[in-house]
Structures are given as structure tokens and as C-alpha cells.
């Protein structure tokens, strides 16, 4: 068998075997812990779930450089805020640490076998166990920002305030 034939056969064998190997490695879908009550259905996350699933790492990467190098300490996409909402205590009030499947980040990352460096330096659990966001204020990472983007009135709100009586 020439080298070329050998390669062809190997590739062919690999392609035939592919569906079987995928099936063999079929792990149970991870149970992703629910975020704290106030950040779920009624209020939503800082961005839609689909977006966060795909882009959370990029947002965190943007945020880390802005925070450390420029001192921009907004709460949206801040890792500490992610942890505060998403890492929830069990029945005994204990928090799972990163690496355990019960930890919000680990639940998916262990499943997908994607390693994370964040928690070799960053705290993996909320510091204040009774933490809850305050809602409907300008400082709020979620919905207060709709009207008060960056503590400034948004263009739409300004229009309402300034041109409202002309309509």
C-alpha cells in the first residue's frame, strides 16, 4: 500500500467512525444553576441569554481591560456582578467553588471541557451572601440603564423631556 493510499484509507476510516465516537461520548446535558430570583425571568440578565451564551467571554475580556487600565467601573458585564447573581447557595447556604459541577461557570465549562483562568485570581463566590441588586435606579446594572444609560439621560429620554410639548 502506497503512502497515499494509506492516508486515504485512514481518513475514510476516521469519517466512518466519527458518528459512533460522538455518540459514545454523549454526556448528560449540564444542569445550569438558576440565577438569583431577581435576575431571572421578570428582569432578565444584562443581555439576552443567547447572546450571553455565545459572547460572555468577549464581554468579560473587554470589561477587564477597561476596568483595570482605564478605571471604568460600570457594573454591566462586571465579573463580580456575574458571580453575585449566578453563583447561588445550596440548601445549607453553602456556595460551590469553581471546579465543582454545581458552580454556575463550571456546570457548562466542565461539560464543554473548556478551561477558565478567571478564578485563579478572582473570587468565585459572592462576598456578601445576602447580596441582591437594587433595581430601578441609575446605578442598576440592568434596567435602570435603559433610561439612564451611563448615568446620563438617553437621547430618547432627552427628546421626551425637551421636545415633548412640541408634539
Amino acid at each position: 500500500m502506497s503512502l497515499r493510499q494509506l492516508i486515504q484509507t485512514t481518513i475514510l476510516a476516521g469519517l466512518i467512525a466519527l458518528p459512533f465516537t460522538v455518540q459514545a461520548g454523549d454526556a448528560p446535558t449540564p444542569e445550569i444553576p438558576k440565577a438569583k430570583e431577581k435576575a431571572t425571568e421578570e428582569y432578565g440578565c444584562v443581555a439576552p441569554t443567547d447572546y450571553m451564551r455565545k459572547n460572555h467571554m468577549d464581554e468579560l475580556m473587554h470589561k477587564r481591560d477597561k476596568t483595570l487600565r482605564k478605571g471604568i467601573r460600570t457594573r454591566k458585564f462586571s465579573l463580580a456582578e456575574c458571580i453575585n447573581c449566578h453563583v447561588t447557595p445550596d440548601e445549607d447556604g453553602q456556595f460551590a467553588s469553581f471546579g465543582e459541577d454545581e458552580h454556575f461557570c463550571s456546570s457548562c465549562h466542565n461539560y464543554a471541557s473548556v478551561s477558565v483562568d478567571c478564578f485563579s485570581c478572582h473570587r468565585d463566590t459572592p462576598e456578601q451572601t445576602d447580596y441582591q441588586h437594587t433595581f430601578n435606579t441609575g446605578d442598576n446594572p440592568h434596567h435602570g440603564k435603559i433610561a439612564l444609560e451611563g448615568n446620563k439621560l438617553s437621547v430618547e429620554t432627552l427628546q421626551v423631556l425637551t421636545e415633548g410639548d412640541q408634539q
Binding site: R64, D65, L68, K70, I72, T74, C121, R123, N151, V160
Partner: protein, 253 residues
């Protein structure tokens, strides 16, 4: 746009204008008790400020370590970090330490806190091969641990021995001060507090103990307490001969 929305906004606007008028009237028209300079969270730090600390060594009490313990508690190193247990005392983190100096001729003994001097021309930034060692626009010198490779070149370059290296895996770090194995760290001038218009933990602790040996403020604002103190009484740099223009100054050396 519905009339309803408009009315709601109008009444809110009226409310705010009345509230503002009432606040202004409280002292005198156009005179407010204290001007607030807080930088909005989404605005980057600028070079309009340069943060500094002035330490009056005559007021710094011998044997007092309030500033050191306050820093430990705030940033989670030293006694506040139980996980760094395999490292020897010379290996453990030291963001700030108390140093005693003695004039051999006169026998005069002085005590002073020593930490990152937040140089204008920091040697640690010069030597860093990755750009992790950096100076913020407002003069605070930091380590970007995201890109620090732990080579410790900056530790060798620093004339004040202000930087430490973390040798062990850590747990339960403070939210405000991420720190981890394989990276270099040092005093951050409590940058997380400064960004929220606060004062570094060491300065706060010193004032709380009524020693009042430390002043924190903006070196570029001629009206700040630190600038007035420096103007009236001066302040020395440690190793001024190196021309680093430190952000931490000392009186009474």
C-alpha cells in the same frame, strides 16, 4: 409619544427643579457646601488628576501598624489570607510595611510606612516585557495580572522593594483585589476606592486612629489638602536622586 408619558416627565422635571431650588436655598443662592467631583463610573481616569499620598513621619507612631493591617484586610493579603501558608515570611506578599530608620549620629529613630511609591517614571513599567506593569492616566501604578507572566523583572527593578510575587494557589480573595499564583502584585493605592471617590484604606485607618500622619489627594489640584501641605511644608521623595518623581512623599525625614 403619548400625553401620559409627557405629563409624567413634566411633573418629574418640575419636581427636580423645585428640589434643586430648595437645596440651593439652604445655604445661599449659588453657594453649595461641598462640591462633588465624583467621576462617573463609565468615564475613564484622566491625567487631569495625579493621586498621591503624603506621609508625615513625625506623626507616624512607632509600633503602630494600623495602615498595614488595614491594607491586609482591605486587599486580602498577609494575615487576612490563610491560604498562603507554605510561603516563608520573606516570600509572602507585602503591599505595605512599616520601616524604622535610625540616624546613627543623633540616635533619632523614625518610623514610616513604605509601599509602592507610584512613580511618574516607574522602573517597573520600563522593564516589563509584556506590558503588564502599567501606569494609569491618573498616576496609579498597577500590575495587569491578566497578562503578567510572573517573570519578576519588575521586582528587581523597583528601588523600594514594593512588589511581591504570589507563590501559591489562593482561595477566597477579596472581590476588589483579585490576586493569584504566578503573578506579581503591589499596593494599588486602593484604586477600587479611588475610582469611587474614596480614600485608600491605609490613610483611612491612620486618620481613624487619630494619628493623621497620612494625606491622600490630587497632586495636580492646588487646593487639595495634600498640595497645600506640600506647598507650605514640603515633602521629600525617597531616593529623589533616581528622578522617578514619586507620588508618595514624606515629611520630617
Amino acid at each position: 409619544m403619548t400625553n401620559k408619558t409627557y405629563n409624567a416627565d413634566l411633573s418629574r422635571r418640575h419636581f427636580f427643579s423645585k428640589a434643586a431650588a430648595a437645596a440651593g436655598m439652604a445655604v445661599a443662592p449659588g453657594v453649595f457646601l461641598r462640591q462633588v467631583h465624583a467621576r462617573p463610573a463609565e468615564q475613564a481616569a484622566t491625567s487631569e488628576q495625579r493621586w498621591g499620598i503624603l506621609i508625615d513621619t513625625n506623626k507616624c507612631a512607632k509600633g503602630c501598624d494600623s495602615c498595614v493591617t488595614a491594607c491586609m484586610d482591605e486587599n486580602g493579603w498577609g494575615r487576612a489570607d490563610a491560604s498562603e501558608d507554605k510561603s516563608g515570611p520573606h516570600q509572602k506578599a507585602q503591599w505595605i510595611r512599616k520601616v524604622t530608620i535610625k540616624d546613627k549620629q543623633t540616635g533619632h529613630v523614625q518610623s514610616l510606612p513604605l509601599m509602592c511609591q507610584h512613580c511618574e517614571n516607574p522602573p517597573c513599567v520600563d522593564v516589563c516585557p509584556t506590558g503588564a506593569s502599567m501606569k494609569r492616566a491618573d498616576g496609579i501604578v498597577l500590575v495587569d495580572k491578566h497578562i503578567c507572566i510572573g517573570c519578576r523583572y519588575c521586582m528587581m527593578a523597583c528601588p523600594y522593594k514594593a512588589r511581591s510575587f504570589v507563590h501559591e494557589d489562593l482561595e477566597d480573595q477579596k472581590v476588589v483585589a483579585p490576586r493569584g499564583k504566578g503573578t506579581v502584585e503591589s499596593c494599588t493605592m486602593c484604586v477600587h476606592r479611588v475610582d469611587k471617590d474614596g480614600t485608600p484604606a491605609c490613610v483611612e485607618a491612620c486618620n481613624a486612629d487619630n494619628h493623621n500622619a497620612m494625606y491622600f489627594g490630587d497632586l495636580k489640584d492646588p487646593n487639595s489638602e495634600i498640595s497645600r501641605q506640600l506647598k507650605d511644608y514640603g515633602g521629600e521623595q525617597l531616593r529623589a536622586d533616581l528622578g522617578l518623581n514619586t507620588g508618595v512623599r514624606y515629611q520630617g525625614l
